[in-house]
Symmetry: C2
C-alpha cells in the first residue's frame, strides 16, 4: 500500500488487460502524430535544436508514467515553459550554443530536484501563492510574447528580445528584409491550422464522420501542414529562394547526458528553475484535475510533484529540457480514450521511432510552418474573457492580473511572475489586515442582531456589540485594538462591550494578546468586556489561555442572551429599584 502511494504504477498495472491495452495504444498513436511537430516547434521556441524537443518527449513521459497519478496527463515540452527556458538560459549563453544547451540541462535537473523535494516534503501548497488572476495574466502575456516572437519566422527575418517593446521594434526594423516565399508558407500554414481548429471538424461531421472521429482526425492537421509544406519546399526548391528549413536532424535515440555540476551556474539558475517548476506544476495540476474529475478519479498533488520531478530529472539525463503536463495534448490523449499512464509510455515509443527513422524526412520542413503551429497553439492561451469577468468581480484581483500582464510584457517573464506573486500577497495581507466589522443592534421583536448602519435596530448607550466578520490573526490584531478603542472613545456612557464572534474561525496568539490588552484597557476605563457566540474550536483554544480567567465580563452562548442580561444589569446598576418591565415595555428584551 505504502509503496504504491509513491509508485502508482503498481496500483493500475495490476488491473491492466487487453481492452485497456487497445484503448491506450489508439490514444498513443494519435498523440504521437500530434506531438512530433509540436516537439520540434517548442524546442525551436526554446532556442534549441529541434531533435531536443523529440528527446524531451521520450524518457520524461516514461518517468511520469511510473510516478504520476493522472491517467491522461501527457508530459513533454510546452510553450510557456519553453519560453521560460529560453529566457533563463539566454542569461548564460546565446541560444543554440553548447553552453546554452548545457544550461537547459541544468535547468531541467534543478527543476526536477526542486519538484521532487517539494513532493517529498509535501510542499505542494506553495503553488497556492500563485493566484488564478496572476497565472491567467502570466499565461496570456507569455502567449502574446511567444506569438510575436514567432512572427520573425513567418516573415523570414531576424528579430530578438524577450520583452514586447524590443521584439516589436526589431521586427519593425527588419520588416523590409521579409522573404516572400517564407511569408507565403507561413501565412498559408497559419490560416490552414486556424481553419483545422475551427472549420475542419464540422466539415468532417457533415461528410458523415462521427463527432469523436472527426475531432481526432482534425488533430492530425498539423502533421498535414508539415507534410505539405515540406513537399512544397523540396519540389519548388524553395531553400534556394531563401526559405529556412529545419535542416539535418541526427537519427538517434535520446543521448545519455550529464548536467554540469557547476555551483555558480546552479546558483544563477536556481530562481528561474524555481519559477519554471512552480508555473509548470500549477498548469499541469489544473489540467490533471480537470481530466480526473470527468471520470470521478482523483490525482494526488504531492505525488504529482514527484511525477513531474522525475520527468524533469529524466529530461536532464536524456538530452532534453524542462517539461511539464501540456493542456492540448492531455485533452487529446483523454478524448482518444487513454485509460492508464501506459498510453504515455506507448507515445514515448512512438516518438522514439520517429527520432530513429522519421528525422531524415524532416530536413526540408520549413521553419515558418513550425512557427505557424506555435502561433496557433499559443493564441488559444490568450484569454480575453477572464480579465472582463475579474474586472466585474473584483477590482483588486484585476489590478494584480493587469500588473502581471504589464510586467511580463514590458520587463520579462520572471519579473512578471514575481510581481504577480508579490502583488497577490500584498493584496491578501492588506485585506486580512482590515477585516469587516460592524456595530450591531437587536432587530425589534427578534433574537437577531444586525449592523446599525444598515438596519433599524435597538441599542443602548451603555452596551456596545461589535460583530467581527473575520478570523483574528496577527495581521488584524492591531486593527482590532484600534477599532474597539475607537468605538469605546465615541461612546462615553459605555459600560459593557460585547464582541460577537460568530464569524471568527480562529484566534492566533497575537490576537489573543490583543484581546487581553483590550480587556485590560477597557477595565482601566471602567468597561467590562464580553464575548458572545464563540465557536467550539475557538473556545477550546481560549480555554488554554489566561483570557477567560482575566475577562472582566462573561462569555455568552448567544448574543440575544448577552444583550438581554446586560441590559438588566446596567439598569440595576443605574437604578436598583427599577425592574425589567421598563425594558420589556420599550421592546428591548
Amino acid at each position: 500500500m505504502r509503496l504504491s502511494r509513491y509508485l502508482p504504477v503498481l496500483a493500475w498495472g495490476r488491473a491492466y488487460n487487453g481492452t485497456t491495452l487497445t484503448n491506450d495504444l489508439v490514444a498513443a498513436g494519435i498523440v504521437t502524430i500530434m506531438l512530433i511537430p509540436q516537439s520540434l516547434a517548442y524546442a525551436m521556441l526554446a532556442g534549441l535544436p529541434p531533435e531536443i524537443g523529440l528527446y524531451a518527449s521520450i524518457l520524461p513521459i516514461i518517468a511520469y508514467a511510473l510516478f504520476g497519478t493522472s491517467r491522461a496527463l501527457a508530459v513533454g515540452p510546452v510553450a510557456v515553459i519553453s519560453l521560460m527556458t529560453l529566457t533563463a538560459a539566454s542569461s548564460i549563453a546565446p541560444p543554440g550554443s553548447a553552453e546554452f544547451i548545457a544550461a537547459t540541462l541544468v535547468l531541467a535537473l534543478l527543476s526536477g530536484l526542486m519538484l521532487l523535494v517539494m513532493g517529498v516534503l509535501r510542499l505542494g501548497f506553495l503553488a497556492n501563492l500563485l493566484s488564478h488572476p496572476v497565472v491567467s495574466g502570466f499565461i496570456t502575456a507569455s502567449g502574446l510574447i511567444i506569438a510575436t516572437s514567432q512572427l520573425k519566422s513567418i516573415l523570414g527575418i531576424k528579430a530578438s528580445g524577450e520583452v514586447m517593446p524590443e521584439l516589436v521594434s526589431t521586427l519593425a526594423a527588419n520588416l523590409p528584409q521579409t522573404n516572400i516565399p517564407t511569408l507565403i508558407i507561413g501565412v498559408v500554414s497559419t490560416a490552414f491550422l486556424f481553419w483545422v481548429r475551427k472549420g475542419l471538424k464540422p466539415l468532417l461531421i457533415s461528410l458523415g464522420l462521427k463527432p469523436r472521429t472527426a475531432d481526432l482526425t482534425a488533430k492530425a492537421g498539423p502533421i498535414a501542414a508539415v507534410a505539405v509544406s515540406t513537399l512544397a519546399v523540396v519540389w519548388l526548391d524553395l531553400e534556394a529562394a531563401g526559405v529556412r528549413t529545419v535542416g539535418q536532424i541526427p537519427q538517434s535515440l535520446p543521448p545519455f547526458t550529464v548536467p554540469l555540476f557547476d555551483a555558480a551556474l546552479w546558483q544563477q539558475l536556481a530562481i528561474p528553475a524555481l519559477l519554471l517548476s512552480v508555473i509548470g506544476f500549477v498548469e499541469s495540476v489544473s489540467v490533471a484535475q480537470t481530466l480526473a474529475a470527468k471520470k470521478r478519479q482523483r490525482i494526488n498533488p504531492d505525488q504529482e510533484l514527484i511525477g513531474l520531478g522525475a520527468a524533469n530529472v529524466a529530461a536532464a539525463f536524456s538530452g532534453g529540457y524542462p517539461v511539464t503536463g501540456g493542456f492540448a495534448r492531455s485533452v487529446v490523449n483523454f478524448d482518444a480514450g487513454a485509460e492508464t499512464p501506459a498510453a504515455g509510455a506507448y507515445t514515448a515509443v512512438g516518438i522514439a521511432i520517429a527520432a530513429l527513422f522519421l528525422t531524415p524526412y524532416l530536413a526540408s520542413l520549413p521553419i515558418a510552418t513550425l512557427a505557424a503551429t506555435i502561433i496557433v497553439a499559443v493564441l488559444s492561451l490568450v484569454d480575453v474573457k477572464t480579465p472582463r469577468h475579474i474586472w466585474r468581480y473584483s477590482r483588486a484581483d484585476f489590478a494584480a492580473m493587469a500588473a502581471t500582464v504589464l510586467v511580463t510584457l514590458l520587463v520579462g517573464v520572471e519579473p512578471g511572475v514575481i510581481a504577480g506573486v508579490g502583488l497577490s500577497l500584498a493584496l491578501f495581507l492588506w485585506r486580512a489586515s482590515r477585516p469587516h466589522a460592524a456595530v450591531v443592534g437587536r432587530v425589534p421583536g427578534t433574537e437577531h442582531f444586525r449592523n446599525v448602519k444598515r438596519h433599524t435596530v435597538l441599542t443602548d448607550p451603555r452596551i456596545l456589540t461589535i460583530r467581527i466578520d473575520e478570523s483574528l490573526t496577527y495581521l488584524n490584531a492591531r486593527w482590532l485594538e484600534e477599532f474597539v478603542l475607537e468605538q469605546v472613545a465615541e461612546t462615553p456612557r459605555l459600560r459593557h462591550l460585547v464582541l460577537m464572534a460568530s464569524a471568527v474561525n480562529a484566534i492566533d496568539a497575537s490576537a489573543l494578546e490583543s484581546l487581553e490588552a483590550i480587556n485590560h484597557r477597557l477595565a482601566d476605563a471602567g468597561v467590562s468586556l464580553h464575548l458572545s457566540e464563540v465557536k467550539g474550536p475557538v473556545m477550546d483554544a481560549l480555554e488554554r489561555s489566561h483570557l477567560l480567567h482575566d475577562l472582566t465580563g462573561e462569555v455568552w452562548l448567544s448574543q440575544d442572551q448577552a444583550f438581554s442580561a446586560l441590559l438588566l444589569r446596567a439598569d440595576e446598576e443605574d437604578a436598583p429599584q427599577a425592574g425589567s418591565d421598563t425594558w420589556m415595555a420599550r421592546g428591548l428584551i
Copy 2:
C-alpha cells in the same frame, strides 16, 4: 480641521491653560531627571559619544510634540533601537569613529523619511507583519544581548561581537583582566538600582510618603547612583586605579548636522533603517495605545508614523541618532501627570539646560554605572511569562517566537527580525491554505447541521453537505477543489453537493474560479452543486459573477431548506411514485 489632523498641536494647544501648564512642568521635571543618565547610557550602548544621547533627547521630542497624537509618549533613545543602530552602523565603520557617527545620522534620516512616507501613504498596517510572538521574542533576545554586552563595562574589560556566542567567548577570554574597583562600582550600582526598582518604593511608603510620590521619587534612583559613583571616583581618585569614566563632554546645545547624501551608503543602510523604523514604530504605538486607553483617549497610528518620522528627521539634523517612544519614560511621564505633548517640549528644555551646564560634572561618571542602568533597564524587557503562555496556546506561534529568539541571539538582530517576519507569514499562509472544513449532517429532530465525525447525525448517500469554516481565497482555492473532489470520489451514489457557506466571509476571484471549476467538474460527473447560508456581502459579490448563472444547483437560504428539498428531489428522481412520508417516517425531514 484638516490641518489639525496633520498638526495635532493646533487642537490641544487651543485648550492650554495654567493647570495644564503646572501639570506638564512637574512631569517634565521628573522625566528630565530620569532621562539624563538614560540618554548617556543608551548613546554609549549604540557606540556613540555620550553627548549624542542628550542631543537625541532635545529636538526629536519637540518634533514629536508638534506632530504626534499621544499625550504622554516620551520620545528619545531606547535600548533596542540603540542596539540596532550599533549593529547597522558597525557594518560601515568601527563604533565611535567619525564615519560611524555619520552612518548613525544617515540611519536617523532614512528611518525618519521612511516613517514619514509610510505615514503619508497610510502604510501603518505594514507593521502588522510583525506578530506579537515575533516582537516579544525579538525584544527578549535583544535584551539578553544588550545585558551581556554591558558586562564588559561592569568588569572593566574588553569584549566584542553582536551575537551571543562571540560576546560570551570574548568576555570569557578577557575575564582575567577584570578591574576590581570597576567591578565593585558596577556590582554595587546594579544591586542598588535593582533595589530601587523593587524595595525603595515600599520603604518610602512605610516612611509616610504617598504611593504616587514614592513611585516618582524612586524614579530618581539612577540619578543618585550617578551622583554617588561620580563623587566616589573623584574623591578616591579611582581613574588612576583603572576605572573608565565618561570623560569630557562638550558644553553645547545640539549642533546643526547634515547627514551625508551618499547613494551607496544610503543603499547599504536602507534595510537596517526599515527594520529599525518598523520595530520602533510597533513598540512606540503599543506604549501610546496603552496610555491613551487609560484616559479613553485615542491615538492615530498613521499620524504616529508622521510624529516619529519627524522626530527622527530632527535627530538627523541635530547631531542625534535614531529615536522612538520609550516604554519606561512614557509611563513615568504619564504617572507624573503629563497632560499634553507640551510636557515633552519642557523635558527638551530641561535636557538642553543639562547639555549646556551640567556636562562638566559628568566627566568623572564611571561607565560601569551607566552599564548598570542599562542592565537593570533591559532585564525588564526579558519576558519569561509570554513564552510559556504562547506554548500552551499555540505550538505554531511558539515556534515562530523560538526561531526569532534563536536567530537573533546566534545570527544577529536583523536576521532575527527577518526570520521572525518570514516565519509568521509562512505559518499564516500555511494555515490559510488548509482551512477547516467538515462534512455535516442533520442533528435528529432539529434544523441544526453538525460535523459527521463529532456527532450522530442523519445523512443521505445521494446528498453531501460540506461546511467550510474559512473565507475562500486564492490560498485555499486549490485545497477547496481537492477537498471537494476527494469527497465526491468517495461518495459513488452522490447526486447533490451542498457547500454550506455560513462561515465564509469573502470569496476572491481565484476561489470564485475554483467554484466554477468545481461546478463544471461535478456537472461532468452528474452531480449538481448547491450553496447554502451564503452571507449578504458574499452574495452581493457573487451576483456580479457568472457562477450563479452557471450553477447546476441552487442557492438555499438555509441548510435545513436545502437538505429537505434535495432529499425529496433525489427521492422523486429515484422513484417518482414515492411520497415524502417515507422520509418523514425516517426522521430525515
